[in-house]
Symmetry: C2
Amino acid sequence: MSLLVVGSVAFDDLETPSGRRDHILGGSASHFSLSASRFNPVQVVAVVGEDFGPEEFGVFAGRPIDLSGIRKMPGLSFHWKGQYGDDLNEAKTLETHLNVFAGFKPDLPPTFREAPYLFLGNIDPVLQLDVVRQMKTRPRWTALDTMNFWIDGARPALMEVLKEIDILLVNEAEARSLTGERNLVKAYERIRTFGPRILVVKRGEYGMLLFTPEGAFPAPAFPLADVQDPTGAGDTFAGGFLGYLAQAGTLDLPVLKRAALAGTVMASFAVQAFGTERLQSLQDADYQARVDAFTRMISLA
Amino acid sequence: MSLLVVGSVAFDDLETPSGRRDHILGGSASHFSLSASRFNPVQVVAVVGEDFGPEEFGVFAGRPIDLSGIRKMPGLSFHWKGQYGDDLNEAKTLETHLNVFAGFKPDLPPTFREAPYLFLGNIDPVLQLDVVRQMKTRPRWTALDTMNFWIDGARPALMEVLKEIDILLVNEAEARSLTGERNLVKAYERIRTFGPRILVVKRGEYGMLLFTPEGAFPAPAFPLADVQDPTGAGDTFAGGFLGYLAQAGTLDLPVLKRAALAGTVMASFAVQAFGTERLQSLQDADYQARVDAFTRMISLA
């Protein structure tokens, strides 16, 4: 019962107040699949360049992650260079080299086209729609991430693909520009008319707000003394959240709440080291201990 | 077992995207005492001008609020004129007339000097310290609110009064400038060395973060579709939080959590109308229904 993700696999150069890393594994599909695979098998569709070798592929090894949808193309992989100041909520993009990602045309392997769960990472909505159309059977649910670049620049295509979406994941600014509503409760009501019945509003260090037809669930972030690098936190959250949902098989509110908690805890680990470093070393016992601590923390008892 | 509050009582002119009100009741002690008195008897120390008449005093009538510490002085009451744009987190001050508040020298009535619970609203820390020294017996706990104006401009006096404080309530920017720590977990560790053992970081629409020696509690705000006016939300939160604590009589973590929830719910009502309008009309059943809804919302079960 695989969870299929279509997104970017990249190299990042990162600088934060805690230090810097050059040429480390990044991209939405990388963060997502390392996080989701803790809960459910993942199939990845992405494109990489010739600079993506055994070392990078090795990061995914030993996990239920099917990489047969990662296509290697002549040229270099997507490369992002970013910097954070004291306010870790704001990334400053220093360089973006799309490289092979500029020509990304997702082509799903036949075995991927029947995946029951689909996550469309933040790519051109025209490509997201194309992926939806390549599916042989309609997934049990489809989730989508996007950003203001597409909301502002490719709205018709985005509105078209949103009709096929069950779960939308965006940040506050995106929810607002997508709907024209500043108030998030109203933004959710509007988004329901676009297609998605479940909305996750990602709020960085403030946590997230989940909206469902059965009710809302505001989940705070896990308070941390040591935040090294927030890159990929949103994709790591999405991975934990959707991986948990895929494993559970239902979208009932109590399951969605537990899934939000799983995503929150995964993201809390991710930001404690650079890139995917902490997800790579994360053990089941670490994860379970923090889920327990978080559950106790938000419990009123 | 009264809760004594020292703060401002004022007239506000308010303009928000939902409308405007001129010359309505405002000030930290007004919002605080209307909120706290739902849980515990309150004693108010403040100063008003000759423009503060029976109509204004009448707002507090029929509640366990002792107004004998409100001194009437020649001149006009404190008057604030503020405006909010679409971002209700940011107030723009259009006019501030301190009027009689400029000469405010709290003078506690003898019966107030043995109050077991004390809240020092956001005033000059020199005056806050003076109030502490007027107390005949040390309160079971003392809570304090302040702002960047005093943190930047009256730090020595503020540090002096913080030594006497058990519970500090500030917003994120204030916690950061007070400690020089951007990370709130570290800011709390630093604040503990100043005196307070409990820290409440108010985050507006993101809720609040409670830090205690026993652990943290991040409480989201109650998601609302209709926010009319955020003026006084922080003081209303403080009133509900501290009123609940005074009533409970202990500072155990489970009680602090329930108190945070009480404050959050009171603040959620306050912002749904202008000034203190909604607190004035609030019924027990309204309050209890929202506490129940909020408890269900944040519960994982």
